[in-house]
Symmetry: D2
Subunit: 349 residues, 4 copies
Amino acid sequence: MRQLCKGNVAVVKGAILAGCRAYYGYPITPASEIAEAAALYLPQVGGTFLQAESEVAAINMVYGAAAAGVRIMSASSGPGLSLMQEGISYLAGAELPGVIVDVVRGGPGLGNIAPEQSDYFAMVKGGGHGNYHNIVLAPASVQEMAELTGLAFELADKYRNPAIVLTDGFVGQMMEPLDLEYREATPPEKPWAVRGTAETRKNLVASIFLQPDELEGHQRNMEAKYYQAQQEEPRHELYETDGTEVLLVGYGIVSRVLRSTVEEARREGLRLGLFRPVTLWPFPSKALAEAAAGVEKVLVVELSNGQMVEDVRLALNGKVPVEFYGRTGGNVPSVEEINAELTSLASRQ
Amino acid sequence: MRQLCKGNVAVVKGAILAGCRAYYGYPITPASEIAEAAALYLPQVGGTFLQAESEVAAINMVYGAAAAGVRIMSASSGPGLSLMQEGISYLAGAELPGVIVDVVRGGPGLGNIAPEQSDYFAMVKGGGHGNYHNIVLAPASVQEMAELTGLAFELADKYRNPAIVLTDGFVGQMMEPLDLEYREATPPEKPWAVRGTAETRKNLVASIFLQPDELEGHQRNMEAKYYQAQQEEPRHELYETDGTEVLLVGYGIVSRVLRSTVEEARREGLRLGLFRPVTLWPFPSKALAEAAAGVEKVLVVELSNGQMVEDVRLALNGKVPVEFYGRTGGNVPSVEEINAELTSLASRQ
Amino acid sequence: MRQLCKGNVAVVKGAILAGCRAYYGYPITPASEIAEAAALYLPQVGGTFLQAESEVAAINMVYGAAAAGVRIMSASSGPGLSLMQEGISYLAGAELPGVIVDVVRGGPGLGNIAPEQSDYFAMVKGGGHGNYHNIVLAPASVQEMAELTGLAFELADKYRNPAIVLTDGFVGQMMEPLDLEYREATPPEKPWAVRGTAETRKNLVASIFLQPDELEGHQRNMEAKYYQAQQEEPRHELYETDGTEVLLVGYGIVSRVLRSTVEEARREGLRLGLFRPVTLWPFPSKALAEAAAGVEKVLVVELSNGQMVEDVRLALNGKVPVEFYGRTGGNVPSVEEINAELTSLASRQ
Amino acid sequence: MRQLCKGNVAVVKGAILAGCRAYYGYPITPASEIAEAAALYLPQVGGTFLQAESEVAAINMVYGAAAAGVRIMSASSGPGLSLMQEGISYLAGAELPGVIVDVVRGGPGLGNIAPEQSDYFAMVKGGGHGNYHNIVLAPASVQEMAELTGLAFELADKYRNPAIVLTDGFVGQMMEPLDLEYREATPPEKPWAVRGTAETRKNLVASIFLQPDELEGHQRNMEAKYYQAQQEEPRHELYETDGTEVLLVGYGIVSRVLRSTVEEARREGLRLGLFRPVTLWPFPSKALAEAAAGVEKVLVVELSNGQMVEDVRLALNGKVPVEFYGRTGGNVPSVEEINAELTSLASRQ
């Protein structure tokens, strides 16, 4: 079924098709349409929508529902995600699947409600305490808002780990055609879940491991599944990477500007190419290293002060010069601006 | 005055000598002695100690007191720090100085109360939302618990930014001699503070910048001060780095094991050296690159699954191979274990 | 269907038969079985059970669900009810129906978990701020736990007002036969509810009335419905009131001891009688005045320091001497103890 | 010293003269000036002002500071007081002194910010769970706002019990001359307090009494002190009660209207008199019975739907007819209105 749909609403449609049946959250611009759509659609499929007292309450309800084996979602923007960091760490530590959407706005602090990509570090690197990683997916279109949300549920269940859909106010608020076909979601069996039934009475969902060796063993197990994810799950998109001299790297809304930049450049005979990470964790380091092999230079563009650029540098490990161009506060670079930056970089050599 | 003192208590002594006059927090093992000592000593100097309803409440009280120009502290461990991530982002966004101590315990989630270094990412890279950095200091002795806490107050005020003392249960709980001499602290003038007086009525402490250009300008200003900090503030310690073949890198409690490893190795004629970052942000990248120039290999040791190692790799940018060895859950590697790892690395080449 | 059932569980069975489809609460002894039973049974009828972050959160979820027109319940014991007082006042002010069960334990403060009747004032007289009354029902058996809970839903909807089931740990924990026959509950239409649909978009559920005349008018309307309730809803039970010399008055568990006292006394030719208020608000003042007409004396017995006795005195207005006997802390007077008190009273004249 | 002062500010001045050295609260209209004045003046005498996260947090900080033996205050209006009911019950149960000011606004629920007396029940009768009474004082002038707040601290300490200053937006917001003379406050020794010192280490402040006999014994002790308070503390004011035919009864702002009514009536030869309760708990029942002896009728006037009238009826116990006249929502009856009511009552006989 083809329909015109807003990005934030597509998230909910994708979630429900993926079998999501509960949403706990607290509204915040520019993520509030996700709560609205969840409140509208979830009861129609027998699901539960609940506006919690706070983001702290919401993420702990996510923990509870995830422990019961339900496909479960929350969404917020920067400040709300920060409040959820403890709960996300608990989800990871208890190996619970849950999908959380971050529609990034300007920060730090109160900032503004315009789009940024400044939560990359908080979602991909750090955030909560302890050794763990979030799975992080970065949609670049309304269609992907639905599809990657669906994928987030699958990966969350496959790895029993929180999965983040990291997007921004542009993608969240834009209207685009959305193609969805109905299919019966078949979430996996979750024999570990605590369902309040006799047969699940023996199950224990917890993140406490009092003895050092016990906790270290738990973390080794987590590391093993993170290693598996790094082998199997990195996803990226390439565009015009034949004979590329300068490889542009950007995700989400930025990748759309970069694609236009590449198109225009190729029309003029300039050998630009685009590498778009679709998964931010696991980061598609190997594919990026391959795509960057032989290029003169890499330019990373972000709506931030430079965050993903560290993962790009780690992936290339000094083999190719990596430059950075960032805009913040809700400003998005135009094609002209990227071109000017490329010219400036060329002249600096 | 020389005294035998516990690391967590030394934090409070250092803070009070630095002019800290308020503490808001919520107790958690293994950081609770900081709250206890603050409750004992702060009233003796006319200061305020308050146990808040939660870590969320505590960090917002820190925000309030910092806005009033008071030198102010909080402390917690992993889960508590996660709950403070929103507030820390607000401190950074409003350019407020405040010192927060993280006595890291095992994670993620509830984990255990044994020492780890697994909050490196959460404190140094990510954590709260938006573009900002915490200043992060990593003491390795009781003496440094006091001194680096004092330095944290100075840097927090100099840069009007939150400063984290990142330590762990080992350093927090150990007893060592502490030399402190009394000096009158002279916190800087803070003409921007809101003190409830007529002359400060015009002041506004906020992190809201509604217009994109306004927020971007604010972030550019923040970037400028972060750049200054990166030039002026990196601190590190070198040990036996002449003719080093293998450079060990570790911070905090780990650096003490590595120092013993180097001592023992040098006695046997093996050319090991030690680089200890004292500031984790700004990371002493330049000094590390210099120290690593010419070495065959770098081995990073952490009580984590590998977090600081990324900053080491970014600093060396492929020029020297960087290996990692980590223990978690409260386990700390012994000298023998490091030696075994070094032997294993040598044989793998 | 006849079954052996615990009082707290009977509450939930009665609620579900009455059409209750949502429960928000936070567990506390001796009310926790209500939460447990709600968690077990509500999902079986397509309803929602949610353990909230706190009693404050729970009562505000009750407010939200009541505003949406759902038959909704919460339960707690003393401390939890105190935390709900603001929310209950909001329910009353916004004229929202909701049923809250108070399984009273020993107080004030933390007290203990043994039964008392010491929340009478907090539920019947005061509690939240502003001019309003709770409808309060006092079951004395497992059967009534179910039936009066059902009645509470009916009265809550009829008067659009919170209704309290005021019981105690004895009645909550006791096992007795319970007769329930299934019937389809038919909650009334609620055209005022806000359901997120187009036709209810114009509805407003609020308790704010900024202008004095507006708020006074609102309160006059509330007074009118309270007057109606006082005419139509008082319920009581009489036992052996022919030719009574001493009328015993007690509610809930106490009434069962008093009934035994009366039975025993009548066997010995003593003319005792029993008046049991079933509704505590509206208090059956008129019926009590009639029952007490001509008696020599009234003895009120409570598991408290004397609370309902004030309503008895107000009802009798000096026409008959009213004495009081109370036990607290979880102690319940025996028949012998009541007899001793009666003897003592007789000798004092 | 004579000064023109607002009622809410006079509360703080009275408190500080009484030795109050800490204030924890959360602002709400029409009580916010109390927080403002506390924030201004307390630091000047070495005291602590703290705006807590919520009223729930504030009252628990009051509990903590009271346990440490500090004279401590909070203030709020209806909704905030409702949120404090659990904490107030804990103060009473643990026998802790603390002063809480309720500047009553229109209710129930959100209501409005105009003055009412509709929290009488919540403060005087019920409120929190369990068997306890608040000491309740009702100032009728700016001077009394200071003096009765001072008295509240004395009674709170004398009886180790929470004391409420029950006032309203009229008295809180009015400006009147205030005479205060400085005197050194001498709060009593509190050997039971927990001060974090060696000699108070054995002290325990708690409200938990697990065994029924233990809790009942505790409540008997509380009853004994309540009995003492009922003998020693009732306070009232009489005006023109010689040969009174109709006795007006009102407290707070209402008493000022009633006094004018009496003055005017006496000028015209009508024998009206005024009885003003100054303490609402303990209620001056004996004095009222004496003052009402021989009058034809009592008219109680309140800014409520009729709450104190119950205590008047209990005091008179049917000996004199008691009528009620109330206004709500922020409306205050005028002298003319009272006269009209008196005429109407006369004609009804």
